[in-house]
């Protein structure tokens, strides 16, 4: 009985995932009009996602390195707990914080690309931190000791021994955050005030404003494909760098 339940639920999950491909069939057979987004929007979305990934890695790396070496359980728990807070809640708190900042300091972030970028970094920081932590934790002390004994300074030892060893973790973190950020809807909508328009928002509008689910499905498949392609490129580049 349990096997049957498992098989049915497994089949339903897989079917649901592959259902958007049916929309492709619709275009092939009936030839409906596919509403493509502008190329500049796609480019700016990918650029925004890549920047968010790079900044979140740069911000998280020192903390992940510290956590892996000397971190306490409390610090680990505090840094990963924001994973549990929903995206919308984070976006709303940032929105309020921006309003306070605008009145007190005079820095306007709401409706600006910079504000959306801050939101994305804030949202994905725990993800990149966890990924970097996993790779920094595997570092053993002996190569560093060897480098130090051979006369390398502390910083040299880090740059030439430890940093290359954590590069696969950096690549993994980059891909993870990039994939999430490329399809991001909530942060641009809430913090960008619909002025910062991304691919995710375009698909969103196709569903909810234009009610065009077929175009929406095909474009979301394209988004998935693009992110997978980007992943492949990043993995290849990093691999050629590290060997």
């Amino acid at each position: 009985m349990i096997k049957k339940i498992a098989a049915v639920s497994f089949a339903v999950v897989v079917l649901l995932f592959y259902a958007p491909f049916l929309a492709l069939g619709y275009y092939i057979t009936e030839g409906g009009e596919l509403r493509l987004p502008s190329l500049s929007m796609v480019a700016s979305t990918l650029l925004l996602a890549a920047t968010a990934a790079a900044i979140s890695i740069a911000v998280a790396y020192p903390a992940a390195y510290y956590l892996a070496k000397r971190g306490t359980e409390l610090e680990f728990a505090l840094l990963t707990a924001p994973l549990w807070v929903g995206t919308l809640l984070k976006a709303y708190s940032l929105l309020v914080l921006y309003a306070v900042l605008e009145k007190t300091v005079g820095v306007a972030l709401w409706g600006q690309p910079l504000g959306v970028l801050v939101g994305m970094v804030y949202e994905y920081l725990p993800y990149s931190l966890l990924t970097l932590y996993a790779s920094a934790e595997k570092l053993s002390e002996s190569p560093v000791h060897a480098a130090r004994a051979l006369g390398a300074s502390r910083i040299q030892a880090f740059l030439r021994v430890e940093l290359p060893l954590t590069l696969p973790g950096v690549a993994a973190a980059f891909i993870l955050v990039f994939l999430f950020a490329a399809g991001e809807v909530i942060m641009p909508a809430v913090l960008g005030a619909w002025k910062v328009y991304t691919f995710g928002n375009y698909i969103w509008d196709l569903y909810f404003k234009a009610r065009d689910i077929f175009s929406g499905s095909v474009l979301s498949l394209m988004l998935t494909g693009m992110s997978l392609l980007a992943t492949y490129i990043v993995v290849r580049t990093i691999r050629s760098l590290s060997i």
Binding site: I5, L22, G86, L88, V100, S217, S220
Partner: protein, 253 residues
């Protein structure tokens, strides 16, 4: 290392600032977010009288409980049945794909399923199914590695001694996997409680959850002290889940 430690604590402070601002403003006796007008609980009292908000919180809670119960159980069944070497590769590959792909592509799948089958998937049932279909792969992926802790001989012993399959799962497999089970339950619960995109695609105007209500304010950039109170209350499940999770991890590691 001291500089790194300072940096880490600075990062922690930065991570919690926006949330702390919301909590502080929900206790602020002033309608303007940048004016501190003294301590008050009146926004919580006005939230109490706002029936739609209470209903939304209750809806979110019930959906999240049902979803996490169903998806951890089904995920356990799947991890148990599909643990043969031949199936693990197949099931992991097929199940990880929806996990990696975009939430939007998934939402598209639900909309298509709805329009092709003609079954009314809106409202509470739709939201439940949408969350379940999204969290089930998560639960499965999280539970599968722990399945190796359940020795094959233990399962075989139970079967030889005459236990049915359901009895084996409930009396042998489940107790061994309890820590993983609890952790998965909590992750799924927190996921389901405050997800917005999957809910927006499947809900009907009559069925409002807490994130949907929050969205109607957030998307227009509106600040309202009553919403600060609601957002603060929405933090509670996340905090509780995170606390239980870290305590259970500590105990079993």
């Amino acid at each position: 290392m001291r500089a790194l430690r300072l940096y880490t604590w600075g990062l922690i402070a930065a991570l919690y600032t926006p949330v702390a601002v919301i909590v502080a403003l929900s206790l602020n006796d002033s309608k303007l977010p940048y004016v501190w007008g003294g301590f008050t609980v009146r926004w919580y009292l006005s939230l109490l009288q706002w029936e739609q908000a209470w209903q939304a919180l209750l809806n979110s809670l019930l959906i999240a409980l049902a979803v996490s119960a169903a998806s951890t159980l089904l995920g356990l069944f799947m991890a148990y049945s599909l643990r043969g070497d031949r199936y693990v590769v197949l099931s992991q590959g097929a199940v990880v794909m929806p996990e990696v792909s975009e939430a939007l592509a998934f939402a598209a799948a639900l909309t298509l399923a709805k329009s092709y089958t003609g079954v009314d998937l809106f409202g509470p049932i739709g939201v439940f199914l949408a969350h379940l279909a999204y969290t089930l792969p998560t639960a499965h992926v999280l539970l599968v590695p722990y399945m190796s802790y359940v020795g094959r001989n233990v399962v075989e012993a139970a079967r030889v001694l005459g236990a049915s399959e359901a009895k084996t799962v409930s009396a042998v497999v489940l107790p061994i996997m309890m820590p993983a089970f609890v952790a998965t339950f909590l992750i799924v619960f927190a996921n389901s409680f405050d997800t917005y995109i999957k809910t927006a695609f499947t809900t009907s105007p009559g069925f409002v959850t807490a994130p949907i209500l929050l969205w109607s304010y957030a998307a227009r950039g509106r600040g309202d002290p009553t919403m600060y109170a609601l957002a603060t209350l929405m933090l509670i499940p996340s905090i509780v889940a995170a606390t239980i999770y870290f305590r259970s991890i500590k105990r079993y590691s």
